[in-house]
């Protein structure tokens, strides 16, 4: 019986172990080449005094970290990073939760609103931030123009030129950028709440505020935690908004760790110190991630 022998023949593609390896290899290669390798390199660099002028790997132990910590700019950047991440994400939570409620409502032109809400997220971050750079320009800012026409100010604000308003501006732009992602995550959570729970709350006599704060938001908490996790990680690790708007200025008042690492390591050539700055918050980020994910899971099985 020829058919049986043909059917019995084993091909390499019948082997699940081979197939698994084959299908996973693009992702694995990608992660190793573009994430794993630079990550390991950064760890190695942070224990050397390597610089663009002296590309030799001389291990100096924690000397690089000590020097980075001694720098007052670093301490300012650390505080700014904290302020930036916390303030931005507090605003993101409130705005995203409110926006998500709008997004799931059924109304005319819903697709247009959804599109506009998502726009900041799909636009390339540097391009979008350059638009903000013009919007907040010291001379031509349309915001200043409107305020002036309304008679609220007599001279321009110089949004990015003064320490306080510069910090406010970078936080605002960061919020503008992260809110769509958070809103979509929260919206997914809202959709996942069974409609009978909302009906039950209505029949049980809950006003819309009571329903929101005692039913909807507690049920959303795990999802909001995930949105915050993404937001915090993006705010701490991504330098685009601050770098494009202020480069950390004026006088380091908006300097955050990610921009400081770039300025120190790439622009200043001190590769070892740049790597040390960049890695400084890694343990903190890992800690936050572990705590948030655990919380989210516990809420899930409650």
């Amino acid at each position: 019986m020829t058919t049986t022998t043909a059917a019995r023949k084993r091909y390499l593609s019948d082997n699940p172990r081979f197939l698994a390896g084959l299908f996973m290899s693009p992702a694995v290669i990608y992660i190793i080449a573009l994430v794993g390798f630079p990550f390991v390199l950064a760890i190695i660099y942070s224990f050397t005094n390597i610089s663009t002028g002296n590309p030799e790997l001389d291990f100096v132990g924690f000397e690089t970290f000590r020097r980075v910590l001694a720098d007052p700019v670093f301490r300012e950047a650390l505080w700014n990073t904290f302020l930036f991440a916390v303030m931005a994400n507090l605003l993101v939570v409130v705005l995203a939760t409110a926006l998500a409620e709008v997004l799931i409502k059924d109304f005319k032109g819903k697709w247009l609103v959804r599109f506009l809400v998502l726009l900041p997220w799909v636009a390339p971050v540097s391009l979008a931030t350059i638009t903000w750079l013009w919007t907040l320009d010291s001379i031509f800012s349309p915001i200043d123009w409107v305020l002036r026409e309304l008679g609220l100010i007599t001279e321009n604000v110089y949004w990015l030129g003064r320490p306080g308003s510069a910090m406010g501006s970078v936080i605002a732009v960061q919020v503008w950028r992260i809110v769509p992602l958070a809103a979509v995550i929260v919206m997914a959570g809202l959709i996942a709440i069974p409609s009978e729970i909302n009906d039950a709350a209505a029949v049980d006599g809950a006003s819309s505020w009571r329903k929101r704060f005692q039913v909807t938001i507690p049920l959303l908490a795990p999802i909001i935690a995930v949105a915050v996790l993404f937001g915090v990680i993006l705010s701490i690790s991504d330098m685009s908004v601050v770098y494009v708007l202020t480069r950390g200025g004026p006088t380091n008042s908006t300097q955050v760790l990610s921009t400081w690492a770039f300025i120190k390591g790439i622009e200043g050539g001190a590769l070892g110190q740049g790597a040390a700055v960049a890695l400084f918050l890694l343990p903190v980020l890992i800690g936050i991630t572990a705590v948030v994910l655990r919380l989210a899971r516990r809420r899930e099985v409650l």
């Binding site: 069974p194 029949v203 006599g205 809950a206």
Partner: protein, 344 residues
Amino acid sequence: MAVVEVRGLRKEFGDVVAIDGVDLRSEEGEFLVLLGPSGCGKTTLLRMIAGLEQPTDGEILLGDEDVVGLPPRARRIAMVFQSYALYPHMTVANNIAFPLKAQGTDPAERSVKVQWAAELFGIERLLHRRPRQLSGGERQRVALARALVREPTVFLLDEPLSNLDAKLRAAARDDLMEFQRRIGITTIYVTHDQVEAMGMGDRIAVMNHGKVRQLGTPEEVYHHPADVFVAQFLGSPPMNLLEATNFLFGFRPEQFLPEGIADHEGDRVPFTFHVNRIEYLGSERYLYGHIREYDETKIIAMLPATVTLPIAVDQNHKFSVARDQLRFFDRDLGNKIPPQTLNP
């Protein structure tokens, strides 16, 4: 306690007419069942009474007050949902207390009432658990306690037993009936399960395509169906329907008996029944076949286990139906008509 009444109720979702002119009035303290196939509008009707949907047209009266336009919380109704819809993040005690908090009951009175409701349903020992830690039957009791703790005037139930397994369902049905009798609250109960409807309802409203086809006691809707739909929706197996010259007539499978079993019982109409297949189900036998004079139509006869008469397959048998058990329907409209003469 209050009477629920709807008048000329209509509900349209876009082009779809979910409720097409319903008039219905419950009695005081009655257990009224809305029965129908899925999509017949029974849940929509219940949700409109609850205030979760607004009617396109018509009136809804709760205790003689028109409540159309009032939000659910202003209607003093309680509702139990198919999934029970317990708040998963709250303990059982907080679930039951939620409607009381919403209406601003003070904490001392609140805990007394929660205790009362928990005792009523025998769930005192579960008060500190969360819904996830409860079995299906326990969840149902919590849902009932939460619904009744406010002492509502009308009690609405949307297929509350359909999430329970068969064994639990019988016990839960029993419990539910007992609570309803004891509290004496007007109850509207939605189900697609005719056994539940027949067993629990004081009256049944049989619905189809957004209309109430018949409203009556279980005996009335079963024995005197108002139309062909009701005749064939109720009963398992359903009523046999045959087409005579210019009308339809039907009879229940259990009324169709072989010669020699019920001959002495008055005026009977004889038929020649050709049996194709027999299903033996323990407590009864189903005989599938057709009547010679009405060749096309399939007929089912149901013989109780007490009838031990042997029936041979692929042969003609003499069967008969009591004349007063024949039901007649208009051939085109399907509605009930007075008895006609059969001349086969």
